[in-house]
């Protein structure tokens, strides 16, 4: 390819990812502030009057890291994946451009009240805490913009399928589009919460709201959103990483099966976040608990297929013996090592997740620091470190520059691991053993126990290392974009071949209708009755409060 055919697409991707990285950078500054506060070093005074409280900072940390960084990265990355995997330009680029415009407009709208301390409601914005209306409208626009990105990709895939009758959709494009479909269905919960409850209420059109109904709609989206974050990493683990490891994808059909199962099973499990809520029948909670175990199945499938694919790579590179192939993997390639470490950590996070989901243990760890430990393994590492690994080839590709300091990038990955382990393990332990609550300014709390201190200190040390790793990462990114030498050859998206030709993949693994129907039926069965019950008994009697 002499001329780059995907100029427009790549510029779009660059905008998405640039904004995502900006959010991660800003949001992460609050991480060290939080862990230091917990051990009695309160630096928030130094940020006044810009940042007025621990909780305003925590709202920014959650919104920027959990919502903005993820959503913008994913929409950008999947756009890149889809067009390069299909080798086809966006069919209606204006749809994707409009999507980006809406996302940016929404981001600016939501950022203003957050920065002005008018939306210190944390990233879950549970009513009747009432933020400025721009916060809700802005977040809604970000979601709608992400839908447009999805539609842009569907139109493109539809065009490809018309042009290639009978052919199997390339795996990377398939996974990318499936992720957006899952997200569109899943985000209907938050969309309904915003449009029917929060926006009219924050604008003063209705006096009160129903907090439990709002919570339930929130968690309709709030669980599958973690798969929206995770599936793009899976696209890379299945579709790219085997190639980066010098191997092949072990099984193309099983990769697709895993994606389909995620589509079908991600959504009807959200009540597992509401085990301890009043007003929802334990029967429905139990059903969601059961389905939660079902959704771990495709993750276990992924573990096997991905590890087997990496083994193919390690052996192709001369690795011998039961474990000898591991040493031969390209650990010196930071894009590989970041994603391999992310997987390793994800295994830990997965075990913790299964524990959270079990009814009885959930009562012990719900809303404690255990949860903080858990999602810094899953979202904070499995997802974030995978995305970081992806940027180690994607940013050079988009900028046309060589990666600035391979060494710094290598160190960054291991520093992350060394920081994350103590950070996360001590949080898990503090929650399980002592019931230390999360979302709490512990250093200022009258009930802080001296016996929590050693673990809080360990967590703080880990958190600072983690933060150092992120700073190093941003040095590498900025150095690459602004300082580095031009690439002689454009960096290409790594595309793993399957061990056996994808043409052998059966057609039912590449047809949408049955899976979509199954998805919708399962949602209706699992969410229909409890939601109807909540809507019927809805009581819009909680006035909004601004208690921060």
């Amino acid at each position: 390819m002499a001329e780059n055919d995907f100029r427009l697409e790549e510029r779009l991707t660059a905008w998405h990812i640039g904004i995502a990285l900006g959010a991660l950078f800003l949001g992460s500054w609050f991480g060290p502030l939080q862990v230091l506060e917990h051990i009695g070093i309160d630096l928030y005074g130094k940020l006044a009057p810009g940042i007025k409280s621990y909780y305003q900072g925590l709202s920014l940390h959650g919104v920027l890291n959990a919502l903005v960084w993820t959503t913008f990265f994913i929409t950008g990355f999947l756009t890149f994946c889809a067009v390069h995997s299909l080798k086809m330009k966006l069919r209606y680029p204006w749809v994707n451009i409009l999507g980006l415009v809406l996302m940016v407009a929404g981001l600016l709208m939501a950022a203003a009240p957050l920065l002005l301390n008018a939306a210190t409601v944390l990233y879950t914005f549970y009513p009747p805490l009432k933020a400025n209306p721009f916060f809700y409208i802005g977040l809604t626009l970000v979601v709608v913009g992400s839908w447009l990105t999805g539609f842009g990709l569907y139109f493109t895939l539809a065009g490809w399928r018309k042009a290639h009758p009978g052919a199997r959709t390339p795996l990377i494009a398939f996974g990318s589009v499936l992720t957006m479909v899952m997200w569109q269905i899943a985000s209907l919960g938050i969309a309904a919460e915003m449009l029917f409850l929060l926006i009219p209420w924050s604008l003063g059109m209705v006096q009160g709201t129903d907090p439990l109904l709002a919570r339930t709609l929130f968690w309709f989206t709030g669980h599958p959103i973690v798969y929206f974050w995770l599936l793009p990493a899976y696209v890379s683990w299945y579709g790219m990483l085997p190639k980066q490891a010098g191997g092949k994808l072990f099984s193309d059909p099983l990769a697709r099966l895993a994606f389909w199962l995620f589509l079908v099973l991600s959504i009807p499990v959200g009540l597992h976040h509401q085990f301890t809520d009043p007003g929802i029948s334990p029967t429905w909670k139990a059903l969601h608990a059961i389905l939660t175990y079902a959704v771990t199945f495709p993750s276990l499938l992924t573990a096997f297929t991905v590890i087997a694919s990496l083994e193919l790579g390690g052996r192709a590179r001369g690795g011998k013996g039961l474990f000898g192939w591991i040493r031969k993997l390209p650990w010196k390639d930071p894009s590989f090592s970041a994603q391999a470490v992310a997987m390793l950590i994800f295994a830990l996070g997965g075990v913790g997740g299964i524990i959270n989901a079990s009814y009885s243990v959930n009562l012990v760890v719900h809303n404690t620091l255990w949860i903080v430990g858990h999602f810094h393994l899953t979202l904070g590492t499995a997802v974030t470190l995978s995305f970081i690994g992806i940027t180690y080839w994607l940013v050079p590709r988009l900028a046309g520059k060589e990666l600035w300091s391979l060494r710094a990038a290598r160190i960054q990955v291991w520093l992350w691991l060394i920081g994350m382990l103590p950070f996360s393990l001590s949080h898990h332990f503090l929650g399980l053993r002592f019931g230390v609550p999360r979302r709490t300014m512990l250093g200022a709390s009258p009930y802080l126990s001296p016996e929590w201190n050693p673990l809080l200190i360990l967590a703080a040390l880990g958190g600072l290392l983690l933060w150092a790793s992120l700073l190093l990462y941003f040095f590498v990114v900025v150095g690459t974009v602004f300082g580095s030498r031009k690439l002689a050859q454009p960096a290409e998206m790594p595309v793993a071949e399957a061990l056996r030709d994808a043409r052998e993949t059966p057609a039912w693994l590449d047809s949408w209708r049955p899976w979509l129907v199954a998805t919708i039926i399962l949602i209706l069965l699992s969410y229909g009755p409890p939601l109807i019950d909540l809507v019927r008994s809805a009581d819009l009697s909680s006035p909004g409060l601004r208690v921060w």
Binding site: I290, H366, P506
Partner: protein, 160 residues
């Protein structure tokens, strides 16, 4: 399943995964049947009314039988009312909570008590206290600027 050949190792792995998940399922089912109960429908109280209507207007602890207590609490910004509950060792206490303002949480240290307190809803949860001592309860959900000062305690007194 035309053309869909599965590697034997992979098949083994899938079966093993399915078996493990089934085991977990059984464990959940067992815990659901054997006395393990999650909060459910316990009635509703309009948030504006809970501070003026019984039983939450003058929250109290009632003895319902030998060693069986019911405790009514309001969780509100930024305190539990009442913030101290005294019962003799060996008591079983059923807690009823509601909130007149924003969402809160109710977690008692060293017990399995951990529920959300949502305006408009009544949360119910039961626990037995055998060992004398102080069991602090904390608000575990962000409820505004002074969320971190919101706590109270159950004092379990030795039987005389």
């Amino acid at each position: 399943m035309s053309g869909f050949r599965v590697d034997p190792y992979e098949k083994g792995w899938m079966l093993a995964s399915a078996a493990i998940l089934l085991l977990f399922l059984l464990a959940v089912a067992a815990s659901a049947f054997y006395g393990f109960s999650l909060p459910g429908h316990e009635g509703r109280v309009a948030p504006g009314r809970s501070a003026v209507e019984p039983p939450f207007a003058n929250p109290l602890v009632v003895e319902r039988g030998p060693g069986r207590y019911e405790a009514y609490l309001r969780a509100q910004v930024w305190a539990f009312v009442p913030n101290e509950i005294r019962v003799p060792a060996g008591s079983t206490v059923t807690f009823y909570l509601t909130s007149p303002d924003v969402q809160h949480g109710f977690l008692i240290e060293r017990t399995n008590v951990n529920v959300m307190v949502v305006p408009g809803q009544v949360s119910k949860i039961t626990s037995r206290f055998d060992e004398p001592g102080e069991y602090r309860f904390l608000c575990q959900e962000y409820c505004g600027l002074a969320h971190h000062v919101m706590f109270g305690k159950v004092v379990v007194e030795p039987r005389s």
